[in-house]
């Protein structure tokens, strides 16, 4: 029986706690009385994954079994989540590949010839052939690549279909092949509560024309939080779009999966454990790994981290109609990540790891660090943020002034041109978004190279809008001062200094809460 998550109160018995800081980690002493949010223990994974997939396809929720939905002569499209989830990437065989194989076996048995596979990469960079092969498996890749297995292209007018407008006037434009299929099977990996449901198709297969309605500063400020779809303007908008697609006759068969918290493989297994339960071997491994990591050249360090593949177990596989499936998925996500937290604190502390959804096999540039910290980590709550209004957030990350020139070209310009003028998300949105979103060079790089869309850094900045609006102070520990200042935040050389700096905002005896992640926890703040 996996133990539930809980909130630790630091006392004199508490050892220093593991804190991630980009491509590095440390153990850090916390002041007595600080609270630490630990996620539930990793749930046991399903032993017979193949059997569970078969069961899900045979007994879907609110839908006929997949076999009955397939018939000869039909147009079948299988879309699947891109490289942005799970994080870190899971050890092979990837669950997407395992599911797609079984879907294709049904299709083959039912005599379906017209099958296309689409990576639902939205405005993310295209996945490379090897990345796609890793996700779908060799057998699928060999059978379909490159003609019938491709990345979604949100800037190819011929490959997009305008479906219509929602009752709130939101344009819905999605992948033409998907929209015109007799059946769209969507294969998802639901790492956090934000993923899945109606967010899969309208966003994953959508275009800028659609995304501009919900990837906005307004929706971000009205999503409390976007990790709680029931209180998220972002998800409301996605749901309206998803329902419009359904009402227009698009048959979507959703298959969602959830993973456990086995985030780090050996030798980094100690990162999955609660510190006071570290064995002598764990302590030795920590020392050796930290020493080796600190002494390695940055290039090697990045290489080692980016090669981490998580030994995730699958905790649930559900198939059928999108909303019915997603309800079951959310139960599984909460079972693995939800932790009850009693009251808010004055200071929230997070250690940002080396990876976020947008730097797999890439570099986490300062904007992505901001997005991970003030976006994802800050929003890992339900009901109320972990920190009180006007409180301070302390983030551990070196924030190097470094960009991947192929993956993030528009980020470079955003950082240099936009942030040097203003940090205000609303101003940025009003003044610069359109220009970047329609820039032909960025569109060319998005379509033909492996670049994120020109508008993507804006979305990353909006992702942190709620936190920027809510917090009184944001302090990065051990970060590049220039990069942090450019983003409008402050830097401290160590944790003690950061706490002292935070005193200006929260007083001398602040209540401190450290969100101990990854593995991920979702705080239910009462």
């Amino acid at each position: 029986m996996a133990r539930p998550g809980f909130v630790l109160e630091v006392d004199e018995r508490t050892p220093p706690l593991l804190v991630h800081e980009g491509e590095g980690f440390r153990v850090q002493k916390f002041p007595l009385g600080s609270r630490v949010i630990y996620p539930p223990d990793s749930l046991p994974g399903i032993k017979d994954v193949t059997g569970a997939i078969r069961q899900a396809l045979l007994n879907p929720s609110n839908s006929e079994p997949l076999t009955e939905l397939m018939k000869p002569g039909m147009r079948l499209t299988i879309a699947f989540d891109d490289i942005s989830i799970p994080l870190p990437p899971m050890q092979t065989p990837d669950i997407r590949g395992r599911i797609i194989e079984q879907v294709l076996e049904v299709a083959a048995r039912r005599g379906v010839d017209d099958v296309k596979l689409v990576v639902a990469n939205s405005l993310h960079r295209r996945m490379t052939a090897s990345e796609i092969k890793r996700a779908v498996g060799e057998r699928v890749f060999r059978s379909f690549w490159p003609n019938d297995l491709a990345n979604h292209d949100a800037e190819d007018p011929a490959a997009l279909a305008y479906v219509g407008q929602t009752d709130r006037g939101e344009d819905v434009e999605v992948n033409r092949r998907a929209a015109e299929s007799d059946l769209l099977v969507y294969v998802n990996v639901n790492l956090v509560a934000m993923d899945g449901g109606h967010k899969s198709v309208p966003v994953g297969l959508g275009s800028y024309k659609s995304l501009r309605h919900h990837h906005t500063v307004h929706t971000m400020l009205n999503s409390r939080s976007y990790m709680d779809p029931t209180h998220s303007a972002l998800h409301d908008s996605c749901a309206r779009m998803g329902r419009l697609l359904a009402s227009n006759g698009l048959r979507i068969f959703t298959i969602e999966t959830t993973l456990n918290n086995e985030t780090f493989p050996k030798p980094f297994g100690f990162m999955n454990k609660r510190e006071w339960e570290w064995s002598l071997a764990d302590q030795g491994t920590y020392l050796a790994a930290k020493r080796a990591n600190d002494k390695s050249p940055p290039r090697i360090r990045r290489e080692v981290f980016q090669r981490i593949a998580s030994p995730y177990g699958v905790t649930g596989i559900h198939a059928g109609e999108t909303e019915a499936v997603h309800a079951q998925t959310m139960v599984n996500v909460h079972r693995q990540q939800l932790v009850e937290v009693d009251g808010q604190s004055d200071v929230m502390v997070v250690g940002l790891p080396y990876i976020c959804p947008y730097n797999v096999n890439s570099i986490m540039n300062p904007i992505l660090v901001q997005c991970l910290g003030l976006g994802y980590f800050f929003n890992l709550y339900r009901n109320k943020p972990v920190v009180r209004p006007g409180g301070a957030m302390i983030l551990f990350h070196p924030v190097p002034w470094e960009f991947h020139q192929v993956h993030h070209p528009s980020y470079v310009d955003f950082f240099e041109e936009v942030l040097s003028e203003t940090n205000d998300p609303a101003q940025i949105e009003a003044k610069f978004e359109q220009q970047y979103a329609t820039d032909p060079w960025y569109i060319h790089l998005y379509r033909n190279s492996y670049a994120y869309h020109g508008v993507h850094p804006f979305y990353m900045w909006y992702w942190g809008a709620h936190a920027m609006d809510y917090l009184g102070d944001v302090i990065f520990v051990g970060a590049d001062r220039k990069a942090v200042r450019r983003m409008g935040f402050r830097t401290a050389s160590n944790f003690a200094d950061a706490l002292e700096m935070a005193e200006e905002t929260v007083g001398r005896s602040p209540r401190i809460t450290y969100l101990h992640a990854p593995p991920l926890a979702l705080a239910e703040v009462r």
Partner: protein
């Protein structure tokens, strides 16, 4: 910025209390897993090399030390002549001096084939204590809380022909008298068909009670008295075996305090003093148990 390796090692050593018992933060105690604890490996302590080192430490370190700091009298070793290993020695326990005193009282051939059951939560909580006691006393961990795995190693050792020393009280006596008696040793003997040898250890509470790390001054008399081997009867349950051992141990105490024949007479009449001590106020019980044993030998010639 990374500190020196030494700083990092120090930080971890301090944080995880390398030299002391690891602690669980109070607010985390209720969430601790009730898992089967990892057992510290001790098989290396029974290799030829470890045996040789142990023999050296016991013979040239502990024996002179214990015999110098206390005045031991060892009786009943001849009872061992009638049995062959493996056996289970069952002794009362009042002091840290009991184990070295017992081991140094054994003939070498028995000593080098005897392993000592030690509380896993006390002697095997930190690596250095576990390694030291395993090497010096040939200890192996035993879970005081019981459970399936509590006696796994003990069973394996018996199967390999090792004698065991078990203190059925599971801990040192708080007042010098025998406390709660557990039946694990009798159960092992019953299941494996090996004899139990009761061993009465007297005077060690007076010499070095709980809380002391060195014997009191003045070479306090202590005694180790081996009893006869008790075999579990056919179909006899371990509870009955355990009671017989307790009874024999009580008689051995009495024998040590008086003489063999008198103890037999009192045993026959059911008047053997209880191991649990007198039913009296706590201070009186402790007063009685902390009274040094009378010195043996000739006594002073000149009065």
């Amino acid at each position: 910025m990374a500190g020196s390796l030494l700083d990092e090692v120090r930080e971890v050593a301090r944080g995880w209390r390398w030299t002391r018992r690891p602690l669980v933060p109070r607010s985390a105690e209720r969430w601790q897993e009730d898992h089967e604890p990892h057992e510290f490996p001790t098989s290396w302590a029974r290799t030829a090399a470890a045996k040789a080192v142990r023999e050296g430490i016991l013979r040239f370190g502990f024996r002179p030390l214990v015999w110098n700091e206390t005045e031991p009298a060892v009786e009943g070793v001849d009872n061992l002549e009638s049995v062959r290993p493996p056996v289970i020695f069952v002794a009362n326990h009042a002091s840290h001096v009991d184990t070295p005193l017992f081991l140094c009282s054994l003939p070498k051939t028995w000593r080098e084939r005897t392993a000592v059951a030690a509380a896993a939560d006390y002697f095997f909580d930190v690596w250095w204590r576990a390694a030291t006691t395993a090497l010096v006393f040939n200890t192996f961990p035993i879970e005081r809380s019981g459970g399936k795995r509590a006696t796994l190693t003990a069973r394996r050792l018996l199967e390999e022909g090792w004698n065991l020393l078990v203190f059925p009280e599971g801990t040192r006596s708080k007042d010098g008298w025998v406390g709660r008696w557990r039946h694990g040793a009798a159960r092992l003997a019953t299941e494996h068909g090996v004899p139990l040898i009761p061993v009465a250890i007297r005077g060690t509470y007076a010499a070095m009670p709980r809380g002391r790390s060195w014997p009191r001054k003045g070479r306090m008399p202590v005694s180790v008295r081996f009893g006869r081997a008790l075999w579990p009867g056919d179909g006899e349950d371990f509870g009955s075996v355990s009671r017989r051992v307790q009874q024999e141990l009580a008689r051995l105490w009495d024998e040590d305090a008086t003489n063999w024949y008198a103890s037999l007479r009192r045993d026959a009449e059911g008047r053997t003093p209880s191991l649990a001590g007198p039913q009296a106020a706590g201070w009186r019980r402790m007063w009685a148990s902390s009274r040094p044993l009378p010195r043996r030998g000739r006594g002073k010639v000149w009065r």
